[in-house]
């Protein structure tokens, strides 16, 4: 054993576990995606080469629909969360009474179990008994079918995601603001720079690394959204909220078309990989290691 250098020896158990829980299943998924799967047969796998991918990319309108729903969800939700997160962080970045107790409360939505989040909103937005429709009714609006109408379902999911994850963006931007150095701001105000100029040319560039991290993590997670979809819309009505993860879930675990589901999931993985690579390169995360 002494022949293996100590650091590699220490890493070995982790590498083995990662190999067993991630690498092997990954290559297994690649293999599955080249097969059809028929659970009724004794030997359910049947090799068909790249046919799944061919069908997926050139014939499966549901896949493209699903991808566009997901991209819309990610872009609108994360964009709104980013703006609101910056706005709230700037807003509370001053001394006020009870600050120490109030700010931690703002973190609660992102920590809450996502299934519970879906549940709460389903209750709030209930067409008949929900408090939201009642309140709007006071102004002679609605009643709205928040999660059960084709027009509203996707925006409603975005709203719920916005509620759940704006605190994350807020938290990152806010701690970024706290870490800003004072000198550049003093110099800028001596030079007569206005508030907006200071924000645009000092605050924003200095927050860039923190914002990139936030965007990277949030986009990755929003792309995989499942829990609130399952709790509120189940991909519907029709297929209006059939996001990628839900689409694969249905194909895999309701239709048991595991080969095809594996193919979609790998395409999804490649898309996430391409997007995150761009952001990761900007980040230079390895600088964490001196």
């Amino acid at each position: 054993m002494r022949s293996i250098p100590l650091p590699y020896l220490l890493l070995l158990p982790t590498i083995l576990v990662i190999g067993a829980t991630t690498l092997y299943p990954f290559f297994y998924a690649v293999y599955l995606s080249l097969n059809t799967y028929d659970p009724t047969l004794a030997n359910p796998l049947h090799f068909i080469g790249l046919a799944n991918y061919g069908q997926l990319l050139f014939q499966d309108l549901e896949f493209w629909h699903s991808l566009s729903v997901t991209v819309f969800f990610v872009v609108v939700a994360v964009g709104a969360e980013l703006l609101a997160g910056i706005g709230i962080a700037l807003y509370v970045n001053r001394a006020f009474v009870g600050k120490r107790f109030i700010l931690p409360l703002l973190y609660l939505p992102m920590i809450a179990t996502p299934v519970v989040v879906g549940l709460i909103w389903r209750m709030l937005l209930d067409p008949t008994y929900g408090i939201v429709n009642y309140m709007l009714g006071l102004f002679h609006l609605g009643p709205f079918l928040w999660y059960s109408s084709t027009q509203a379902a996707l925006p409603t999911l975005i709203l719920v995601d916005f509620w759940e994850w704006t605190p994350f963006l807020f938290l990152i931007v806010y701690s970024g603001l706290l870490a800003l150095p004072e000198e550049p701001f003093e110099a800028a105000s001596i030079d007569g720079a206005g508030k907006w100029a200071a924000f645009r040319y000092l605050t924003l560039p200095m927050l860039r690394p923190a914002l990139l991290v936030a965007l990277l993590i949030r986009m990755m997670d929003a792309f995989k959204v499942f829990d609130i979809v399952n709790m509120l819309t189940e991909g519907g009505p029709g297929n209006t909220t059939n996001v990628l993860t839900y689409n694969i879930y249905l194909k895999g675990f309701q239709d048991f078309d595991l080969g095809y589901a594996a193919a979609i999931s790998l395409v999804m993985f490649v898309i996430i990989l391409l997007v995150t690579r761009v952001l990761l390169r900007q980040l230079r995360w390895q600088e964490n290691f001196r």
Binding site: P5, L6, P7, Y8, L10, L11, P13, I18, T21, T22, Y24, F26, A29, L32, V92, N93, R94, A95, F96, P104, Y107, L108, A112, T113, P114, V115, V116, L119, I120, M123, Y129, Y134, W163, L171, I172, G176, L177, L178, A210, V213, I217, F223, F226, D227, N230, L244, T245, I248, Y249, G252, L258, A262, L266, F269, I272, L280, W285, Q286, N288, F289
Partner: protein
């Protein structure tokens, strides 16, 4: 006070100060009202939450729903499943990550940064993509609907996370401390155990608690890989919804489900941002 944190100075016009607090109240209301509503509904009798106009404050608060969910719906059984799975997965991750994190945080060796980054990027893999091969593998090994099955699967996100966090914590402990102990005749293992490890305990605790939260909240794998024997709290609640369980017991269960994670999150709030950004934002 710096420019970046302007004080709400007494010189501020009174109106502006009032407006600030109004805005703050609106922000708080938006983020907290849904949670508050859940808590309030859990203590309202059905005629109050199915009333129009709705009762905001319960007129006749009751703990009936908690009794229902505990006695008839055996919420504690599912909580036990959740705890066992989350603790097992967290413990395994921490033990493995102690070795690996120490290697990455302490030693300079060929491929160090590459291995660290590679471990991090494993998190990019969408869980649904893993769930398909997992399903077949778990079935082969008879691990569907078992504690072991889900605990092992949760390593897929807990382990990379723990390795990444712990290597940063180990790196923050000066190597000189260990080296001086080794000069005094300690073995490397002993100096690690009596010097470095105790200093890393706050980091270990935060990392462990965050792994616990992630496992506790996880739904996708849990709903696919459990049937009855290892059903976790989130799966139980989604089943309640499909079975048309009433709001009261549903909310009582939800309160019991989020309470542990809220307590933990408030306990580690200073480290929360570091945890949620993989150490990229120190907070």
């Amino acid at each position: 006070m710096t420019h970046a944190t302007p004080a709400l100075v007494p010189g501020w016009p009174r109106l502006r100060r009032i407006l600030f607090y109004v805005g703050l109240a609106a922000i708080l209301l938006w983020f907290l009202f849904p949670l508050l509503w859940m808590a309030l509904t859990s203590i309202k009798p059905p005629r109050e939450y199915y009333a129009s106009p709705p009762f905001i404050i319960p007129a006749q608060p009751t703990l009936d729903h908690y009794v229902t969910t505990i006695t008839q719906m055996s919420v504690f059984t599912q909580m036990k499943h959740s705890v066992i799975i989350a603790v097992a997965s967290t413990a395994l991750s921490l033990i493995l990550a102690c070795f690996a994190g120490y290697a990455i945080g302490r030693f300079k060796f060929a491929g160090r940064v590459d291995i660290a980054l590679w471990i991090l990027t494993l998190r990019i893999m969408p869980p649904i993509a893993m769930s398909i091969p997992y399903f077949l593998l778990l079935r082969t090994f008879g691990l569907i609907d078992t504690y072991a099955g889900l605990s092992i699967i949760y390593l897929v996100f807990n382990l990379p996370f723990a390795v990444w966090m712990l290597s940063a914590y180990f790196q923050d402990i000066p190597a000189e401390l260990e080296e001086s102990a080794m000069v005094d005749g300690c073995s490397r293992l002993r100096s690690f155990l009596i010097i470095t490890l105790p200093l890393t305990i706050p980091g270990l605790v935060s990392t462990g608690l965050f792994c616990f939260i992630s496992s506790w909240n996880e739904y996708l794998f849990a709903v696919i890989f459990t049937r009855s024997q290892a059903v976790t709290i989130p799966v139980m609640m989604s089943e309640f919804l499909y079975r048309g369980v009433e709001w009261g017991p549903l909310c009582a269960t939800a309160v019991l489900a989020v309470l542990p994670v809220f307590v933990i999150a408030l306990a580690i709030q200073r480290n929360l941002i570091r945890m949620m950004t993989f150490g990229a934002v120190k907070g």
